[in-house]
């Protein structure tokens, strides 16, 4: 969640958000449509440098973020790379019970290709996530004529994410020191209790917020300036 914090304190935080957004959109488009290994690597290098060197995001933090989807990546790449069949058509293979497990040249190239594309796209998205705050993005979406309902829901959801994140942490800690997460059974029950408590707090917040809205002369719209 700390990505959010960096979006406000990095060195590019006040840089024109439209330019940042356009750059990222273009990088994503090129990486997925053109999708050339060398171009992808170029995007990865450019975006990483922009994020870490120009934006001033700590390198270890950046690498940590890049590794978040690692499990998915490894498992999926393995699925793409490896195949099993009775025919021996593989560049490298092992034989198990008359089946061949291995990979072909094509799947090897495809895997490498996916890898470069994934890291090109990740670096572009992370550039956006690390340097452009959601508050700036919402204004961009407004410019892009995203429907008003969606903009309003974005605003409200973004705000309430932080309300409940804090509450969840407090409830979790209170459970944790009372041994709520010692052992599988307890963890299970505590998780359910946590979800319940949080849910009830959603409803309470709703009731209180409606009252507060009345006082703020809410007329049915959550506006933002341009």
């Amino acid at each position: 969640m700390l990505i959010d914090k960096y979006a406000y304190i990095n060195k590019l935080a006040n840089f024109n958000p439209y330019i940042k957004f356009t750059m990222v959109a273009m990088a994503l488009a090129i990486a997925t449509i053109v999708s050339n290994n060398y171009v992808n690597i170029l995007i990865l290098i450019t975006m990483s440098l922009l994020t870490v060197v120009v934006g001033g995001i700590p390198l270890n933090r950046y690498i940590k973020a890049l590794l978040i989807p690692l499990v998915f990546l490894v498992v999926s790449i393995v699925s793409v790379l490896i195949s099993i069949s009775q025919k021996d058509v593989y560049v490298a293979r092992i034989e198990v019970l008359r089946y061949y497990i291995g990979f072909t040249e094509e799947s090897l190239f495809q895997s490498i290709h996916i890898l470069t594309r994934v890291f090109a796209c990740l670096s572009a998205t992370f550039f956006l996530a690390f340097t452009t705050s959601i508050n700036q993005l919402i204004r961009i979406f407004k410019k892009l004529r995203v429907p008003n309902v969606v903009i309003e829901l974005l605003i409200l959801t973004y705000r309430s994410i932080f309300i409940f994140l804090e509450e969840m942490q407090e409830i979790y800690r209170a459970q944790e020191i009372r041994f709520g997460y010692s052992g599988y059974r307890n963890s299970f029950r505590s998780t359910a209790l946590l979800m319940k408590s949080l849910f009830i707090r959603v409803l309470q917040k709703y009731e209180d917020m409606v009252i507060s809205l009345e006082c703020k002369l809410y007329n049915g719209e959550f506006k933002i300036g341009d």
Binding site: V89, L156, L165, K196, F199, V202, L203, K205, L213
Partner: protein
Amino acid sequence: MKNKKYLGFIVSLLLIVTPSISYGMHIMEGFLPAKWALVWTVLSLPFLIYGILKIDKMFKNDTNAKVLLGLAGGFTFVLSALKIPSVTGSCSHPTGVGLGAILFGPTVMTVLGTIVLLFQSLLLAHGGLTTLGANVFSMAIVGPFVSYGIYAGLKKSKMNKTFVVFLAAALGDLATYIVTATQLGVAFPDPVTGIAGSLTSFLGIFAITQVPLAIVEGILTAIVYNLLVEY
């Protein structure tokens, strides 16, 4: 529950929130080639647009519902930061989406789900922008629809309510996983065995984590449901 009118809301939130996207496997940023990224986006769009129109209409009648939906969005997002004990001992992240299928109609949660998925990719690095369309389709459309369908279809039957909730949540989750595996399978056909091979391979490899998870999540949802009804 002191307020009966919330009951429908609760059930639907739980059913749609936790299950489908809950422990779904987000297809990561950049993983899909352009063609497939586009295909799934185009397939998701009608649901999204219909949902937006519906929400628009709903907000005209009850402007406070905006706040409720916003809070529900925050709530579902936050569940994805919560580590849920899973069978294998590792921790998986639930990711809830959605909301009041019963109160608001199932397409509403497609919109909310999309918003949550967007925040997940920007704030948590789960999923991605290029794969948003595909993830929306599996997690904010198919999963919730399956859950909702099962719940709506069985709630009047004589079956035990808790079991119905369990089924709806668990099967919604499974549906999401099958769709995701399919999305990957068709995008990357096995050079030797074709789509059939790649599909089997993705279904098989993710089954190790996703099937137990679906069951765990079904149970969890049922427990929370009972706790809330008791409250």
